[in-house]
């Protein structure tokens, strides 16, 4: 092998010095990503009425990140989703004494467009971002604004981040009159976040984050036959992240944990670990595992009770039931000088028995899905 040019060898090594780690983007990044999300069908025996076909979502994403002048950068994100399939409308006690599903009948088709604009000002040792986002579906509109900042301190060994956001959502269910659904409702969400990242040494970083979100308004699912939820929810989450780079292996370990709690009675734990293995300068393989577990909400019911007054909270939404879930995934990234190509495949399975609270009732709609993404990044 030819001896590398000392000038290039030293220039490459110098780039690792803190002064040359540019905080603001110096290049423009254009990225596109295509994702297919496919839920597995519900077993026919669990469906009392309706279709057993569940959601399939195709997502196309576009992202542009570009510096504007020396101190600003602008990001534009656009996502377009098409959804088809059926969703659970409710549950009822089946002939065998187990909960049976009432699914929506004919295939639902919908599309969603989300656009967000982010402007960031990069200062000496801090950056401030303002983000405006909007999401539109046939029956749902969301508008959000957020402001966040990052401050580097202790010689760049620590980073404090703070953020606030506000969103306003409008829902106008389709076929409202035909099915006796609400016609128009709104919800407001406000959240605060704070984080502290600490460089422990040249190979490891730890991050602690706290988020508090308050939702106010119509929080029920208008498509379910009987779904009555409180019109307020206060949730908070604590997250811990640890990153450790291993020189000898040319690899990095990511360990994440998140604890979540809300005043609907749900506690959840999420563990996510990934091993980022580099092979040479161009190839990275990232196998990762995620485990999630929650207990059921206070007003969760395995089967809908139409005998209860409509003022009494109840929901048979499987997302409010007690369950656990595993996601196994692998991501492959190939990087050339200006290009990155990535492919990721994830498999998600969930079940009541994986959850941490054995007393919870099971739900037949707990799902499994497969997700495949293909992405291209171009830098110039």
């Amino acid at each position: 092998m030819a001896k590398p040019n000392p000038f290039l060898a030293l220039s490459t090594a110098a780039m690792a010095l803190p002064a040359f780690a540019a905080p603001q983007p110096v290049e423009t990044i254009v990225a596109i990503k295509a994702t297919t999300y496919q839920e597995e069908d519900v077993p026919q025996r669990d469906v009392l009425a309706g279709s057993d076909e569940r959601y399939k979502i195709d997502i196309a994403q576009f992202r542009l990140l570009t510096p504007v002048g020396e101190k600003w950068s602008l990001g534009v994100d656009v996502a377009y989703e098409t959804m088809s399939g059926a969703s659970p409308w409710g549950t009822i006690m089946g002939a065998d004494g187990e909960a049976s599903l009432i699914m929506s009948g004919a295939t639902i088709r919908d599309k969603r467009t989300e656009v967000s604009l982010t402007a960031t000002h990069h200062g000496e040792s801090r950056s401030i971002s303002v983000d405006l986002a909007s999401s539109d579906e046939d029956d749902y509109e969301a508008r959000a604004v957020s402001i966040s900042g990052e401050w580097e301190m202790n010689n760049k060994l620590s980073t404090l981040s703070l953020g606030v956001s506000y969103s306003s959502d409008d829902i106008e269910p389709t076929d409202a009159l035909r099915f006796g659904r609400v016609q128009r409702e709104e919800k407001i969400s406000r959240s605060l976040s704070a984080g502290w990242a600490q460089v422990l040494n040249k190979n490891s970083v730890v991050h602690v984050g706290l988020d508090v979100t308050d939702h106010d308004g119509y929080l029920s699912d208008p498509y379910k036959l009987r779904d009555v939820r409180p019109d307020e929810k206060l949730e908070w989450a604590l997250s811990l992240k640890y990153r450790r780079y291993f020189d000898n292996q040319n690899a990095a370990l990511h360990l994440d944990y998140r604890y979540y709690n809300d005043d609907w009675g749900i506690n959840s734990h999420t563990f996510h670990t990934g091993w980022h293995q580099n092979f040479g300068d161009n190839v990275r393989v990232v196998p990762n595992v995620r485990y999630y577990s929650q207990n059921e909400a206070d007003f969760y019911r395995g089967t809908d009770d139409f005998g209860l007054a409509t003022t009494i909270n109840q929901s048979s939404d499987f997302r409010l039931s007690g369950y656990g879930a595993y996601t196994l995934g692998v991501k492959l990234i190939y990087s050339a000088l200006q290009w990155d190509v990535s492919l990721s495949i994830d498999r998600y399975i969930s079940d009541k028995s994986y959850g941490h609270d054995a007393s919870d009732q099971s739900h037949p709609a707990l799902l499994s899905f497969n997700m495949t993404s293909f992405g291209l990044n171009f830098r110039f």
Binding site: P6, E124, N155, N203
Partner: protein, 302 residues
């Protein structure tokens, strides 16, 4: 737009900032940040200050490891690459050999003295983990003199740029970073000191971007028995180097330019020039017969 000049002493050498700004207050603000940043580096890395990280590591030699932060770790990593690229000549542990070669010695060292100090030299002996460094032999020393000053010039240029300076020059004792051309668009002219005629220039370099550094064996020297010895010492033999009288390199960053000039000077004149040619980056070198080499700058004719 006017160019404001600030001169100060730091890291054992004269330092100069030339900052073009619409008003004096911005230039002043940048100068304050730059001088305080320089002082921060000096107090952190100087081997003369007892509470510097360098002194803490050196005083713990042969005793125990010392915890270091990511900046020190990154500079150590970079120094390790210099060691490899120079095939062992650029060694930040070689400073201890100055005990044998200095103005006060007035005699050549004996073989046993050489052996005693050479035992305390060697980058490969240094034990570095993720956040600790340990010099395993009592009396070993790190000296960041050949790395930090060059790096600080880059740091100051980046600071000045981030504060809005678009035309300027940072000169830390010959390690020069350029922030764009002069306000009128013309490049900055940098004189290369004549190795034997102290106050005149042997060549002039014109530069609008990037960095240029110059090292010379003529800068510091001493005489023993009528012979002149350079302050640059070969860490393998323990003897002063008889290399190029002066070398200048232009590169995008001062730290890389500085490492290349230092490495070139530690070699024999022929090897030094071969090394600079191999790097394929602009250079200017003066050999012992005052012959000029390289493609950087215009040679001044007397």
């Amino acid at each position: 737009m006017e160019t404001y000049q600030f001169n100060f002493q730091a890291m054992g050498c004269p330092c100069e900032l030339r900052l073009a700004a619409a008003d004096r207050s911005l230039a002043n603000e940048v100068a304050v940040i730059c001088t305080s940043e320089t002082q921060r580096f000096e107090s952190k890395y100087s081997r003369y200050l007892t509470d510097s990280v360098t002194s803490r590591v050196n005083n713990a030699s042969g005793l125990h490891p010392v915890t270091i932060d990511p900046e020190v770790a990154a500079i150590l990593d970079y120094s390790g690459v210099c060691y490899v690229q120079s095939e062992g000549l650029f060694d930040i542990t070689s400073g201890v050999l100055r005990q044998l070669w200095n103005k006060n010695m007035r005699r050549l060292p004996t073989d046993s003295e050489l052996e005693f100090y050479l035992d305390k030299v060697g980058w490969k002996k240094v034990e570095i983990s993720a956040n600790e460094v340990f010099l395993p032999i009592k009396g070993m020393q790190l000296d960041f003199g050949g790395v930090v000053k060059e790096y600080v010039a880059d740091v100051l240029a980046a600071k000045a740029r981030s504060m809005g300076i678009e035309h300027g020059l940072i000169n830390l004792g010959g390690d020069i970073c350029i922030i764009g051309p002069q306000p009128d668009g013309t490049p900055w002219s940098i004189g290369i000191t004549h190795p034997t005629e102290g106050n005149s220039a042997i060549a002039v370099i014109e530069l609008s971007e990037g960095a240029v550094t110059t090292s010379g064996g003529y800068e510091r020297y001493f005489d023993i028995d009528g012979l002149r010895y350079s302050h640059l010492i070969n860490p393998e033999t323990g003897w002063p180097v008889e290399g190029l009288l002066s070398a200048s390199v232009a590169a995008p960053t001062s730290i890389v330019a500085g490492s290349l000039t230092s490495i070139a000077l530690l070699k024999t004149p022929e090897d030094g020039i071969r090394f600079l040619e191999e790097c394929a980056t602009p250079y200017f070198a003066v050999d012992q017969q005052l012959g000029c080499h390289g493609n950087l700058g215009e040679v001044c004719h007397a």
